[in-house]
Symmetry: C2
């Protein structure tokens, strides 16, 4: 559960926002981007619901956390709702990122177009493997770990991605936090020990497969 | 929400199980594997909770969907609870997978150790790109798309992974379903049109970053 204190916007909310709502808000926002790109001005809650695979009551409930949107019997203005969802998600700006770990996962993340489309860009890749340092991944040169604090400060980076083996993950997280990062996306399959004021999200690529197998056997 | 009709086990449940519970069950199960590997026999709900970053009431509530576990004041038998969570998740067997898309994401998935540790193994990689067909990713040769139905039937595969560009994803999904797959893990950033009897889970790598930025700006 997350607490929303949204300043400088249309309104200020203090109700708890479930993380599932934020996840769907990201999905609505991406679907609205597609509609806007295709020149569509108005969308109904049932069209928006179908576009992301939920029902329209869910759409209305999710959006109700953030204010009143749309006109009954007409729908939502695509551009307005898109801009508002981007603002809520903090995506009305660019987010430079650092990535530690230049292995297979790190390389895939560097080439992942979905980050750029949402304003994220990896501006530095780091590794402590001498066979990787100095090599290029796309436009980026792999730097030694010692350069991490400098790059974080130079670009005023708030978010780091960890894509290193389990045994190295905690040490990387500690260095990231010491260097001033406020949020970490962790691909290592280990629960990190992190101070309460630092945000962490873990990505476990096998979890969704396990939801599928659960569903297949029940 | 998922409905559990768990046959051949300790009990049969028909209550709806939230997907978040299944996700945490996967996390408990992985943590129990670590404890078991380290020779630990008994774990309390508060230790299990701390290990995956939730509170102990949540652990007890999640497990209560599936029966009564543990002994008050003592805790859970690690090996028993591990085996039971694996069984609930359908992981007391091997799951061969096919992967379509031999690009960066596909290559990262092929080398991802977390799949093997949970009984998943990619047994076939497919692409329609002539520059990729015939090349090797680890132990696997990239096959042309035409071979997909044959490999699915040969290995009696139930689950496929889509890691192709958005424009190709629906066509790949259609071929997978026609070839008999029952579940799809989709890395393409598009909502697939899928019959109701086929299970689909979408993986969107930017969503968790957006939960972090939401949290950083609110």
């Amino acid at each position: 559960m997350l607490s929303l204190k949204f300043e400088g916007g249309i309104q200020v909310e203090t109700r708890k926002i479930p993380e599932a709502t934020i996840t769907r808000l990201s999905q609505y926002s991406k679907y609205l981007e597609r509609l806007d790109y295709n020149g569509i001005d108005i969308v109904s809650s049932s069209e928006l619901a179908e576009g992301v695979g939920v029902n329209s009551a869910q759409v209305r409930k999710d959006l109700s956390y953030f204010g009143e949107f749309g006109t009954r019997g007409i729908g939502y203005n695509v551009k307005d709702l898109l801009n508002y969802t981007l603002k809520i998600l903090g995506l009305n700006r660019k987010w430079p990122l650092v990535l530690v770990g230049a292995g297979n996962v790190g390389q895939a993340l560097c080439s992942f177009k979905g980050f750029n489309e949402r304003g994220f860009s990896i501006v530095g890749v780091f590794d402590n493997d001498l066979t990787k340092i100095g090599k290029r991944i796309g436009k980026l040169e792999v730097f030694p770990m010692e350069k991490l604090p400098e790059v974080i400060k130079l670009h005023e980076i708030k978010i780091g991605i960890i894509a290193v083996p389990v045994r190295a993950a905690q040490e990387v997280a500690d260095l990231m936090i010491k260097s001033g990062l406020q949020a970490i996306l962790n691909f290592a399959r280990v629960t990190l020990n992190i101070p309460e004021n630092i945000k962490v999200k873990n990505v476990d690529l096998s979890v969704k497969l396990e939801i599928l197998t659960f569903d297949l056997v029940t």
